[in-house]
Symmetry: C2
Subunit: 339 residues, 2 copies
């Protein structure tokens, strides 16, 4: 476990500065204090105070998502949550779960038995047992990327998919693209539906027509590309927006396989900005989900639910990261209208 | 200005308990501490600590909305904001503004000159000068009931109008109403648009048809009723949902004037749950906006923006308050289909 000295060394500041930051002393700046606290959490430091505290326990339940190393999608989400919770002396336990585990005990029972005051659920699927129970849970619960109707104890937290997709369309539009394809993630996902609607709205707002042959739902995996990219290319797409970066990596591979250069012949945009995206060949232009901020946001909302502020829906901004997988639309031979 | 003793008397607890609550001592419960802090703010108590603090200033700018007495819409919003800000030693200044005032100085300039770190804007109109400037402001800003695209420094906060209107439709549906009218507030308002969309969606979800003669945009004033209620009654409405409680008060008056009893002949539902709504004749069934919680939510979001968490959209739950202005749909003579 990290000591105060370890934190000081990592940040290049004195031990007393770290100590001040951890203890909320007023003679260091707010920025520095924040950095000290964030680093302490990242390095696994635990104060005696937080060790002692009882009844200040929050859970992060995580399913279908990797979070243990920095290159995984869930890592920064969990880290951001813990960093913010640490400030208020909450003790956070991260618990990976499976569908089978959810059948062993009811959500509320599990929470009560283990003394948790609230939970953040990440990566759950609609048909999961615990998801079904969220309509009636009495436990303050924040849910990543899914919305539960009418229960004032549950809040949805996610990225603004509308602005995210709009930023992607707008970027391609300014590069001269008109035949823009959209290879979305799985059907029956709230996030996919928001992105689909966003794509239609944004294309319309840019005066562009959506060609039905150029949109498809796949799954949130690279393999989706095989089934849809050939159709897109055949229908004359010059750019493909993808439901996430994994799909985009598959799309790039599939385009290359068929002799199309990225970005010279076809531009590709992802969604998420996974750590791997910057090292794809070419590095991927993508809509970034600010994962550390999502985690922090989830904590703020959960803490509010615990204090009876009935947040129900919270989104944070998406941000387009421009890299090398997008370029100006290749010149298309102009077709003269018939005289 | 209130003293610790005043707070103790009001709450019926000892002076030392109040003192513990104000100073964050760990041997009183979180609930009690919260009550002490909330009451301290409500009574205008200021600690020496918060008097001394510099550079911890937030502004609440308020326009087109009364907030000075408990019976006014803005009162609890401002109070909730101040109560939560107080916990973190922010100094809050409430500044009523006019369109003319906004022309005297740019928003960012005013904020910087006066040392504010962020602001909560309540009641602003779309065409206001400062609203135009929000697309590019660098100041953390929370905006009640309006959304600013793409600027990560600005977040929208409001009530979930979709669930609110759905709760109203659902309530009337279970009372047997089918010919439900909707007298919305002003056109070109984001909130009105959300409620209009919600009304169509909810009617459809309940298997009910929207009769175009039974929907209209008015203004958010009682007078709107005069122009639309006669049409609604003529077209056979048995219930009217209103864009806010003021409209509802006008609707009730207009119905009575035309010899219709509320709720025996026609049911009326409001939106907001203004303090006046409970003392209307009959007391109004309405969709409550949790104003104290909205204020608290706005603070939480503003504090997050100050700490660079790019919240963009936040809604809290609406709640239907059942009173006496709604009742079972009067029996309609059944029309037999032609043989």
């Amino acid at each position: 476990m990290a000591t105060i000295k370890d934190i000081a060394t990592r940040l290049g500041v004195s031990v007393s500065t770290v100590s001040k930051g951890l203890n909320g002393a007023s003679d260091i700046s707010e920025e520095l204090r924040q950095m000290v606290l964030d680093t302490a959490v990242e390095m696994g430091y635990a104060t005696k105070k937080s060790k002692k505290k009882e009844n200040r326990k929050l859970a992060v339940f995580i399913e279908n998502m990797e979070y243990e190393t920095e290159d995984q999608f869930g890592y920064d989400i969990v880290l951001g949550f813990k960093q913010n919770a640490f400030r208020h002396n909450w003790d956070v336990t991260v618990i990976p779960v499976t569908p089978a585990f959810q059948l062993t005990e009811k959500y509320d029972t599990y929470m009560l038995k283990n003394g948790f005051c609230g939970a953040f659920l990440v990566g759950f699927a609609l048909h999961d047992e615990w998801m079904q129970q969220l309509s009636h849970t009495t436990m303050p619960t924040v849910l990543f990327d899914n919305y539960i109707e009418k229960n004032p104890n549950v809040c949805y937290v996610g990225t603004d998919n509308y602005e995210g997709i709009d930023a992607a369309v707008d970027h391609l539009y300014t590069l001269g693209h008109k035949k823009i394809a959209f290879l979305n993630g799985s059907l029956h996902s709230m996030v996919s539906e928001q992105r689909q609607e966003a794509f239609y709205n944004s294309m319309k707002a840019h005066g562009l027509t959506v060609d039905e042959k150029l949109t498809a739902y796949g799954y949130y995996v690279a393999d989706s590309a095989k089934y849809h990219v050939p159709t897109f290319l055949g229908a004359g797409a010059t750019a493909i927006i993808c439901g996430n970066d994994l799909i985009a990596s598959g799309v790039i591979a599939e385009c290359k396989l068929r002799g199309f250069r990225v970005p010279e012949d076809i531009s590709v945009v992802g969604f998420d900005d996974l750590p791997l995206s910057a090292s794809l060949e070419p590095p991927l232009t993508t809509v970034r989900q600010e994962r550390n901020e999502l985690g922090k946001c989830a904590y703020v909302v959960l803490n509010s639910l615990v204090h009876h502020i009935p947040f129900c829906r919270t989104q944070i901004r998406a941000r387009l990261i421009e890299r090398e997988s997008t370029a100006r639309c290749p010149a298309v031979p102009e077709i003269k209208p018939l005289a």
